[in-house]
Amino acid sequence: MASEKIIKNLLKASSVIILLIFAGMAYSMIKGAIPAFKEFGLFGFIFSTDWNPTEGNESYGALPFVAGTVITSLLALVICFPLAFSTSLFIAEYYRKTKIATMLSTLVDLLAGVPSIVYGLWGFYTIRPLIAELGYSGQGYGIFTSGLILAIMIIPYATSISNEIISMVPTELKEAAYSLGATRMEVIFNVILPNARSGLVAGYILALGRALGETMAVTMLIGNANIIPTGLFSPGNTMASVIANQFGEADGLKLSSLIAIGLLLFAVTAAVNAIGKVIIRKYA
């Protein structure tokens, strides 16, 4: 049985490599970010609005990007929520187990597999000119354009999680309510929603986590202005897109600042997802 043991340990060893990768990622990000945090201070860096790469006057702060990320993602969530929620009522309740519901949920799943860059291109040539045409912003770049495309991108995640949660509500409960004379609407509001609420909240938190880290589509649409957005149609920048735009030619303090922004993004997405998972595990 010696060989059995060797195999087990080999499998174990290669599984542990995942942990090493994870630790390596955390370590290299923290190490890379330290010069920026040392120079500006942890809070000084997070709350500063400067982004000045002029030599001698270098000063970097993360606030414009944190603001851009949070605002676009929340906007995406606000747009996505009614659409995804009522679609999942359609799929998982009104037309449950019909052909059209299966087709729709397959379509939604396929939508989840469309690469970010494709949404980016579509947004660039369809939504951006539309916003410009409507006269909201000169060339159509900005917070709203990015938020809208992000909303479309997270609809698949939000919808399929809502589907699962809604279809998990026990049939007995629904039947009991119907047998007491409740209408379908009353069943939805008094049985399904209260039972599915925490699961739905968790699902939308996970969708938010997706939106926070989206890079390519947002980079193409947000306008890449390193300022705190001044309005719904103002250009801005997100944490992911400033990295995508500037990391390639960055060095020294700027490089470290970009890595520090990456570390913040890493921490924020991990935290948001952890909260979502905890809620799911606790209630669902």
Partner: protein
């Protein structure tokens, strides 16, 4: 009477709203597909797929980008699939559900699955290129810059980290569909645990491993953020090897749209490339959906 009538109206309105949202989502998909297909359909030809770009990227084909994408996903799969499968086997067959190590590995996998793709790009540059590559150069090439710069190998390995959780999750799901009775029967016949895994468990979950691979390939073919700094290039006159930068479909779309000097002239190529990428991911995802459907069906039988 009146009250129940009102209730009815409200109920119908709400059902109507769900119908409208469903239609809206279908409409978004149709509009998106139409815009992309109309923009790109005139480009799609055998020549477009098999020739190099010419005239400053405004004419010609996208062959190097297709070639680069293919190599990228192949090398990525070679790294991610066996490794992901091994981890999944260890987690489901060997590790005790509540042991510290299994819990920690699961935590790492879950976290890796949600880390934004751009962070993988940062890590790939910092680890593979500036650390591993630079050390290889220092040790074997006398410090001459060879592996310490962006190339196909490092980009593929970065992408394999991104797709590793995808593989692990799919394979784990498939392993769990193999009935415990089969394992017990095999062990009762005197087979060792490893023999059981090799002859019973893995064959029984091969479709899950395939689903995981397909999903990983589809993800890897479309992601751009992780390869921005680890190897993707704007234009190359020759086909790449492991140590070269390379062209890739997604990045091709990105640079042509945002960074080319004459955006309007490259417009048809942008849409044509997007058509190709979209078609590729649709085919891959569709086959994954079908495979997974078959696994689920097997599970319920």
């Amino acid at each position: 009477m009146i009250k129940s009538f009102r209730k009815n109206i409200k109920g119908i309105v709400i059902e109507g709203i769900t119908l409208v949202s469903a239609l809206l989502i279908i409409a978004i998909v149709i509009i998106m597909l139409t815009v992309i297909i109309i923009g790109g359909k005139d480009q799609l030809s055998w020549e477009f797929l098999t020739s190099f770009p010419t005239d400053g990227m405004t004419k010609g084909g996208i062959f190097p980008a297709i070639y680069g994408t293919a190599l990228l996903v192949i090398i990525m799969s070679i790294a991610a699939v066996p490794f992901g499968t091994i981890t999944a086997i260890y987690l489901t067959e060997y590790a005790k559900e509540n042991s510290v190590i299994a819990k920690t590995i699961r935590f790492a996998v879950r976290t890796l699955a949600v880390i934004p793709s751009i962070i993988y790009g940062l890590f790939g540059l910092g680890f593979f290129i500036k650390f591993v590559g630079a050390h290889i150069d220092g040790a074997f090439f006398g410090g001459e810059l060879k592996w310490g710069q962006p190339n196909l190998l490092w980009a593929s390995l970065t992408m394999s980290l991104l797709t590793l959780p995808v593989v692990i999750v799919s394979v784990e799901e498939a392993l769990k569909t193999v009935p415990q009775e089969l394992r017990a029967a095999s062990l009762a016949l005197g087979a060792t645990k490893w023999q059981t895994i090799r002859k019973v468990v893995i064959p029984g979950s091969i479709s899950g491993i395939m689903t995981g691979t397909i999903l990983a390939v589809s993800r890897g073919a479309g992601e751009v953020a992780p390869i921005l700094f680890t190897g993707a290039a704007y234009y190359l006159a020759t086909l790449p090897g492991l140590g070269d930068q390379f062209m890739v479909l997604g990045y091709h779309i990105y640079v042509l749209t945002t960074q080319s000097a004459n955006v309007d002239q490259t417009l048809p190529i942008q849409f044509g490339t997007t058509c190709v990428l979209l078609l590729l991911t649709f085919i891959l995802n569709m086959s994954a959906v079908i495979l997974r459907y078959r696994i689920r069906k097997k599970k319920t039988n």
